[in-house]
């Protein structure tokens, strides 16, 4: 076979036919890494495959379906759309597969959605409604754009100009202002000046995630320009989804690398960890709590920087130039744990599935809106796991996780506190005069 041109460009599904056709059905995409396999319970990390059970709902089924779509053998249907979209793109499949192989599962799934939208068949109606909200009101919820900064309180100090820019995101701005406030206060207490965007718009996470790449790209360009205009050197978020968008998917859509964005992207967990390690912040208030930390997918598995790549593929599937693949190894796993464990009185217990084996909360990237039962179910699974290890609280670092867990707790009456990382850190420093 002659060499073929290939790149990681998700707008061309042909780039991923190789990956789809090399899936060996080992279900490494579904099972917890076998080294970490805990037993017959908590043995999977793909919520879609675990919930819907038919092979077609696991990545291994989707790869086959993808081939058939590309070959024109399979038409669109409600079932196909459900298979493609009842999935949080959590990246468990990608990381699981890449333990042993070199297949781009996550990018394939993204590319399939992009193709679906291009073919005029996707996304789900609920997503279209949200896309309209974003287009018209610049936020996910369709709330008045003017209210975006309503989360601010008088005690929070914003700098007109600073190296650090806090990108709040739709969820923290409108639904979980406690996260935005906590983040802002942490920065204040750490005496780290920060700015906000004069006119912050949605990051476009859902748009990109459901395959509306053109709209997402336009938003990305606009947002990057807006940040550059402020002169910020670092963009900080307290939202894992936003983090991933800025750090990974913006460069991906613009065919540049993360390093070439023009500014650093950090998550609050990384930032606080750094502050503590350099002595700029000390978490000294005691909090007596037995908690477990839930790794948000976009902060962990999916967060390694993006580097565009194009080249050729030849015999044995060898590509040239060589490509260093993103396997989830260097996700933000340890920093939040180090921070939380440093709080006096905190007992950090790990859930059975942690780090790259974490079971997605079920909410992300537009999934909850289109498949609320599925999202609720996934969150429920995770809460059971949290209870199993005796946690009193489940802590994450993403407002979407918090939202979904909170709702799940309410629905099934489990007595479990649901907290965000920012809230805990704030509690550990508030009133202490923070430093040293």
């Amino acid at each position: 076979m002659p060499k073929s041109k290939v790149s990681l460009d998700v707008t061309q599904i042909e780039n991923f036919v190789f990956d789809m056709s090399r899936c060996i059905k080992c279900k490494g995409c579904t099972w917890v890494d076998h080294i970490y396999m805990p037993g017959v319970k908590y043995s999977t990390r793909c919520p879609s495959a675990t919930r819907y059970l038919f092979d077609s709902y696991g990545a291994y089924g989707k790869m086959r379906i993808g081939v058939a779509m590309v070959e024109g053998k399979l038409g669109y249907s409600d079932e196909l759309l459900k298979i493609l979209y009842a999935c949080t793109l959590c990246g468990a499949c990608d990381v699981g597969c890449k333990r042993n192989l070199d297949l781009e599962i996550e990018l394939t799934l993204e590319a399939l959605r992009i193709k679906t939208v291009k073919d005029g068949k996707g996304p789900m109606p609920e997503h279209k409604k949200i896309a309209q909200n974003i287009a018209q009101k610049h936020n996910f919820f369709g709330s008045p754009h003017a209210n975006r900064k309503k989360w601010l309180t008088d005690e929070i100090k914003i700098s007109p100009k600073a190296d650090l820019l806090y990108f709040v995101g739709c969820s923290a701005s409108y639904i979980h202002p406690e996260i935005a406030r906590a983040t802002a206060k942490i920065l204040n207490i750490a005496e780290t000046p920060f700015m906000l965007l004069p006119d912050e718009w949605c990051c476009g996470n859902m748009l990109y995630s459901v395959g509306m790449i053109d709209e997402a790209r336009e938003l990305a360009k606009r947002n990057i320009e807006a940040v550059k205009k402020t002169g910020a050197k670092t963009l900080l978020t307290s939202c894992a989804e936003g983090y991933r968008m800025w750090k990974v998917d913006y460069p991906k859509m613009l065919n540049i690398s993360t390093a070439d964005l023009g500014f650093k992207v950090v998550h609050l967990t990384e930032y606080v960890d750094e502050l503590i390690k350099k002595g700029a912040l000390k978490l000294s208030n005691r909090i007596d709590l037995r908690l477990t930390y839930h790794d948000p997918c976009s902060l962990s598995r999916l967060s390694e920087p993006w580097i565009p790549w194009k080249g050729e593929r030849g015999l044995w599937g060898v590509v040239n130039p060589p490509l260093e693949r993103r396997r989830g190894t260097n996700g933000v796993y340890q920093q939040p744990r180090d921070v939380l464990s440093s709080i006096p009185g905190i007992q950090l217990v790990e859930m059975i599935r942690m780090r790259e084996n974490a079971f997605c909360c079920g909410a992300g990237r537009g999934t909850k809106e289109a498949f609320p039962d599925f999202a609720s179910w996934a969150a429920g699974q995770r809460l059971v796991e949290a209870k199993e290890v005796g946690a009193e609280a489940i802590v994450s670092a993403c407002p979407w996780c918090k939202d979904n867990f909170t709702e799940a707790v309410k629905n099934n009456g489990k007595s479990l506190k649901v907290l965000d990382f920012s809230e805990l850190v704030l509690s550990a420093i508030e009133g202490t005069g923070k430093r040293r």
Binding site: H34, S43, F54, K62, K98, N100, T329, E356
Partner: protein, 535 residues
């Protein structure tokens, strides 16, 4: 003929509408290829179809009812646990029903009496994790942690850990089997009373004899819905999972579990070391290390693999003799010390040298690495894997290496690697396995031809082989082994599957394949009576 509305209704009433589907997208998700075991080969292209319907029963009763419905309405069906075994696990005829057993994931363990009862949906790594919590362990078959424990116990079931533990056949205890015609037969102690799984031998003749044969039936003689599997005593220290993907490994408690790699001066010294170890009755694993695996383990990507591999040559391969030995202090730390002392003595006598060996296991206890076999080329099969003696194992591999040259390309260049071999059952048996790789995008006719040629070569040279039953043409191997084992196999099949609906046309699948594959016709020099006409 698609499943009739009436049949569908009946099937739906058995499992509920959530667990059955004829939707084309759902069915497409169950396609065998294009990737997987034996991917890109003629067999997959010619013999596999997507199912017409998928059903997911939860209980033995539901499975039995489903099979009876299939018999009533003449619906061909295929029992399916993970589908990992490639094309042979998938329907070969149109409009078949896949009976997807993944919901049958019940699990029970009797720690005191050393067995676990599992449903077909339980995979090895789940079982191993449960066993290890209790100071026990199992052998995970070469297929890997991700395969159904039951499915693997029915057709495979060995690894370097079989050195101590022996044939998987012995580890099958009380078992529930739904025969192709829908009759339920309980084997072993289960024949005497429900819920007693602890013993495998049934009253008088042991009907476990129907379950497999050497390398199994691949699902043509019914469905096992529950099986008790022996667990083996291990040692009390924990094997701790460490690392972040892709570099995850079990950290070994070195005073109780230890791998040691040795460089040996020759293949024969490696063989002798295995013999001496076995005679001294030490060790828990003893295997030649195939050089592929070492290179895969070192490579961080396919490209890096090929970069490293291109530096190899025939001479180096021919002189690469690494023996990997596992020691387990089952009794105590002192036992491990004793065995290590004896081992060093043996290796020293034979001119070998210990190499620095990581105190971890990535590959065998929780068998995380088997998927890595596909890293190199995307196509892979274990051509032949035979349990016999070491005396058989070594020439068997060498024979393959010679034969393989004629088919390289399309086979991956391996510089004459003769496969790997190891010792089983404390030296009473030896094992040889020969793996081949190819690029599925290339013309793979040569791989099909090689596969068939090895079968013929085994017969010519009087080697035992895994290529029995449905693995290669039954009318080719049948007269050669037994002789005429195929006669009995087909009679059993006729008796228990009179309608020939359990995974048709297995066990004559490979015979049918040869008929349909013009590139194999030149090799066909045996008689086949009329073959089933399957669509």
């Amino acid at each position: 003929m698609a499943i009739s509305k009436e049949a569908y209704k009946v099937l739906e009433s058995i499992v509920g509408s959530e667990y059955i589907s004829t939707d084309p997208t759902i069915c497409e998700g169950y396609r065998s290829g294009p990737g997987g075991y034996e991917s890109g080969l003629g067999y997959e292209r010619v013999m596999t179809k997507i199912p017409g319907c998928v059903i997911m029963p939860r209980t033995t009763e539901e499975v039995q009812k489903t099979v009876k419905v299939c018999n009533r309405y003449k619906i061909p069906y295929v029992p399916y646990s993970t589908g990992f075994y490639g094309p042979r696990s998938h329907p070969h005829v149109s409009d078949a029903l896949i009976i997807d057993l993944k919901r049958m994931d019940d699990f029970e363990i009797d720690e005191k009496h050393l067995y676990a009862i599992v449903g077909s949906g339980v995979i090895y790594s789940e079982l191993q994790a449960e066993a290890m919590k209790r100071g026990l362990y199992i052998v995970i078959g070469g297929g890997g942690s991700q395969v159904s424990a039951i499915a693997n116990m029915l057709g495979d079931g060995w690894s370097p850990l079989s050195y101590r533990v022996g044939l998987p056949h012995r580890r099958i205890l009380g078992t529930e089997l739904i025969l192709p015609d829908g009759e339920l037969v309980r084997l072993g102690s289960l024949a005497f009373q429900e819920d007693d799984y602890h013993w495998g031998e049934g009253p008088g003749p042991d009907l476990r004899g129907l379950l497999r044969g050497f390398t199994g039936h691949r699902g043509f003689l019914g469905i096992v819905t529950k099986m008790a599997i022996k667990l083996l005593p291990f040692q009390p220290e924990k094997l701790v999972p460490t690392g972040i993907s892709p570099n995850t490994a079990l950290e070994l408690p070195e005073r109780r579990v230890k791998w040691i790699n040795f460089t040996m001066p020759s293949k024969d010294s490696m063989r002798k070391a295995m013999v001496e170890m076995a005679n001294a009755e030490i060790g828990a694993g003893a295997t030649k290390v195939p050089i592929f695996w070492r290179v895969i383990a070192r490579a961080k990507s396919k490209e890096e693999f090929w970069e490293l591999w291109s530096k190899e040559n025939e001479e180096r391969i021919a002189n690469f003799h690494v023996l990997r030995v596992l020691l387990i202090g089952f009794t105590s730390e002192e036992q491990l010390e004793y065995e290590e002392k004896v081992l060093m003595e043996i290796v020293g006598e034979l001119g070998g040298e210990a190499r620095r060996t990581r105190p971890t296991d990535e590959s065998w206890f929780k068998n995380a690495d088997s998927a890595g076999m596909w890293l190199m080329c995307g196509g892979y099969v274990s051509v032949d894997y035979v349990i016999e003696t070491l005396e058989h194992a070594i020439p068997h591999g060498e024979n393959y290496a010679k034969l393989k040259r004629n088919f390289t390309p399309p086979l991956m260049p391996d510089y004459g690697d003769p496969g790997w071999f190891q010792s089983f059952e404390l030296g009473h048996q030896g094992y040889s396995e020969f793996l081949v790789y190819w690029d599925p995008d290339e013309n793979t006719d040569g791989v099909d031809q090689f596969y068939l040629e090895t079968s013929k070569e085994n017969i010519r040279k009087r080697f035992y082989t895994s290529l029995l039953g449905s693995h290669q043409p039954l009318y080719l191997t049948g007269p050669a082994y037994g002789p005429n084992y195929h006669k009995w196999l087909l009679k059993i099949k006729d008796e228990f599957d009179p309608q020939f609906i359990c995974h048709p046309p297995v066990p004559l699948n490979h015979d049918v394949f040869v008929e349909r594959a013009p590139w194999l016709h030149a090799q066909k020099d045996w008689e086949s009576p009329e073959l089933p006409k399957s669509s």
